[in-house]
Point group: C2
Chain length 448, copies 2
């Protein structure tokens, strides 16, 4: 039985305009609301297009600060902006919360789990994730850091480990709870290892009664002969020393060759050593999102060994000039060069480029090929420690850290008034506290 | 194979002092780190006792603001404080992250899932939860608001509903997605309904393209003839008008007699009406935590109909003068009076009382029976709307809201520098934004 009020409500809802009609405008569909997709969308704000941003999440995630969530320094809400809020005032844009399964090239439709969206131009920006080098079963015991859920899982494991150590009477088991292995010496691995070092030595210093968190062992395993391998060798060395000051053991030229729930096998010079450890975090490898491979198969495009789509100089898929691939999903390199790294500034730059390219086409203008102007690279190791490289200028230490903080907050502020994040940060810095170190989850139990 | 380094690490860990030895001091065990338990712990800071706080969560939750998390205004980390951080400097206290299953009265031990803790005095403060009046199966479709996980689930449902409505072509189904039913006109129900009203009319105003969120129907169902029944009748009337200004339909003398996944049956004057609704939130009933019933069975104590333990004038279980029950788990009333309400000020007051009582006993001093000095009650309806009652003084509207804000922040600040919360709030107030409106969960899918 429905009341008259219910019926009036339904009628009122029904009178709403349905924008599924494209108004005859050029339809641009962007898959993915990360840095690439979102900057493409924003750069199209004055263009005469009908724009749809499809994402399976309802928020843009400020990925470079995700390790802060994973270590209890910031809350997920502080490094995310609802996609609808970001694009609220952009009249030519709509946001669709949906999961993309395929692209129908012939009929120019993006296929969703529960529907489809027609396009004239398509921008694919679905990113990449970490890779377990053919051992996907390791993920259970060694989670990677890509989503908010990953970050909360890692946060839980780190803090549960100290809690379990506090209660464990057996000294060997206690030691395993107090051993943290981080796999991969790239930015994510370095940030995580550095943050755990801070947690052990400062944040939790006075928190326990039967353990000294400062006795925690943090081991960073890297296959190359240095950490942060995309930086200058002198900076890698400085980063390593900063990590060691935070109590991190850096093992270079070493590989994790097996992962089980209570430890890892670290192999160096063909000799494997089992390291008992209850917390193993994965920060290695790059694997393009599955849509890359699907697109490559359908278009005949090449992919690199990480599954990234090799794009033309204008970031289109060769032979498909209305399909752009940008960000971490794209493999873009001038002949013989290394492909551009999967970092936010590259994705943002690509997003702006394809927006302008589409706009130029609609106006009948020519565009130049994409070119990335190196803006410099920054990586942080921990409190007051970072390295930065701007062309020939190399800086490290406190000044690099402040630069890192400033650059990140500047971009974060663009989305919302994230000055509050700065203040939270300042507070954490002064007090060495991490107020967001909640152990949460389905049951909320200590060890599930 | 273990390296020499691993062995040294284990030895170092092993050398840590084990505080399981009670040093011969009077052992106080507090079960539960809510307002009651935490204030008891803090009030024992100068006492010559060996104190253990047992909680299955590693944080104290500022429950009165949990509805802000459920509606995307604040993040969980912003209304929680790690228990260890709160008690860090209190040398006589330790925190145990564990789940209590039973109390062994004869041997004075608290039984954990994985261990036990001996006590001389026991303070039980495990609180209460909502009650489905004999229909526990409704919880799946009508979640209540008690834990951080509950809040994130509700947040997800509220924002998924608008997303699903945006994509739903069928007008009846669209209307059901845009209908929100809140069961219970107490503080939680009123806060949730008011916040959803704000979200629909302000926060999401410009966010969608095929729906007008302002057309959302929000129905508050209350069995009594007024909302916020513990307040003066004039204030209940004011609260109702405030809710109506936010677009909430208040249905008094009405009961929810069935809950299914796509709607509820609302019964008034023996006539049931089915209201199609995809979001149903439960804010009704009180049920004591299971430990209350276990204790009552073992001690022969009486419980009230909500399962709360009827306590003696000194908050002990009659006949067991070393076991105290405080907070929402206790039913305390002078002869013939209504038992004290389950609110934070009562729990805090009880916590302080039992701490002093234990301290007095150890010093051989006598204590007076517990007396609660009414501090006044406050309830908020939404932006700029609240009611407050201090004895005969009754206030409502903006001034009551500012009072409410001030009182809550004052208590929140006690735990940590939560001025940041105030700033986040001020920002939300000015912009009407709710930046923490993330849809998160295991898969992160729109509808699982």
């Amino acid at each position: 039985m429905q009341s008259a009020k219910t019926e009036r409500h339904i009628e009122a809802v029904n009178r709403q305009v349905d924008l599924h009609d494209p108004h005859g405008k050029h339809r641009v569909v962007i898959i993915g609301g990360g840095f690439g997709g979102l900057y493409a969308a924003k750069s199209l704000r004055r263009s005469d297009v009908d724009l749809t941003v499809v994402d399976r999440r309802n928020f843009h995630l400020f990925q470079p600060l995700l390790y802060q969530v994973a270590t209890g320094g910031l809350s997920p809400g502080e490094i995310s902006s609802p996609l609808r809020a970001v694009l609220r005032r952009q009249k030519n844009a709509r946001v669709l919360l949906a999961e993309v399964t395929d692209v129908d090239l012939e009929n120019r439709r993006v296929i969703l789990v529960d529907g489809e969206v027609p396009y004239d131009s398509l921008i694919v920006a679905t990113g990449a994730t970490h890779d377990y080098f053919g051992n996907p079963q390791w993920e259970v015991d060694a989670p990677g850091l890509k989503t908010v859920e990953d970050a909360l899982e890692i946060r839980k494991r780190i803090y549960v480990a100290f809690e379990a150590a506090e209660r464990e009477p057996d000294p060997e088991k206690k030691a395993a709870w107090l051993t943290f292995v981080v796999v991969g010496g790239g930015p994510t691995g370095v940030e995580l290892a550095g943050a755990i070092g801070e947690i052990a030595h400062y944040t939790l210093k006075h928190d326990f009664r039967t353990i000294d968190p400062g006795l925690a062992r943090i081991i960073l395993v890297e296959g190359m002969d240095r950490v942060l391998g995309t930086y200058d060798r002198s900076l890698s060395e400085k980063a390593k020393r900063s990590l060691e000051r935070l109590g991190v053991e850096v093992r270079l030229n070493a590989f994790v060759t097996n992962v089980v729930s209570d430890g890892v096998t670290v192999t160096r010079d063909h000799t494997g050593t089992f390291v008992p450890a209850r917390t193993i975090l994965w920060g290695a490898g790059v694997k393009a999102s599955p849509l890359g491979r699907i697109l490559a198969e359908e278009t005949g495009a090449e992919t690199d060994k990480a599954g990234r789509v090799k794009v033309a100089p204008d970031l289109t898929i060769p032979g498909h000039d209305n399909i752009f691939v940008i960000g971490d999903l794209a493999s873009f390199g001038h002949q013989g060069d290394q492909p551009l790294p999967g970092v936010a500034p590259v994705a943002m730059s690509m997003g702006r480029y394809v927006a302008n390219r589409i706009d130029d086409r609609l106006r009948g203008k020519k565009s130049k090929p994409f070119r990335y102007f190196e803006k410099g690279s920054l990586a942080t190791i921990g409190r007051s420690a970072a390295i930065a490289q701007f062309g020939r200028i190399k800086i490290s230490g406190w000044f690099a850290w402040v630069t890192w903080l400033f650059v990140h907050l500047m971009y974060l502020v663009e989305f919302d008034n994230r000055l509050l994040v700065l203040m939270q940060w300042a507070w954490n810095y002064i007090t060495r506290n991490r107020g967001a170190r909640l152990i949460t989850g389905k049951t909320g139990r200590l060890v599930e």
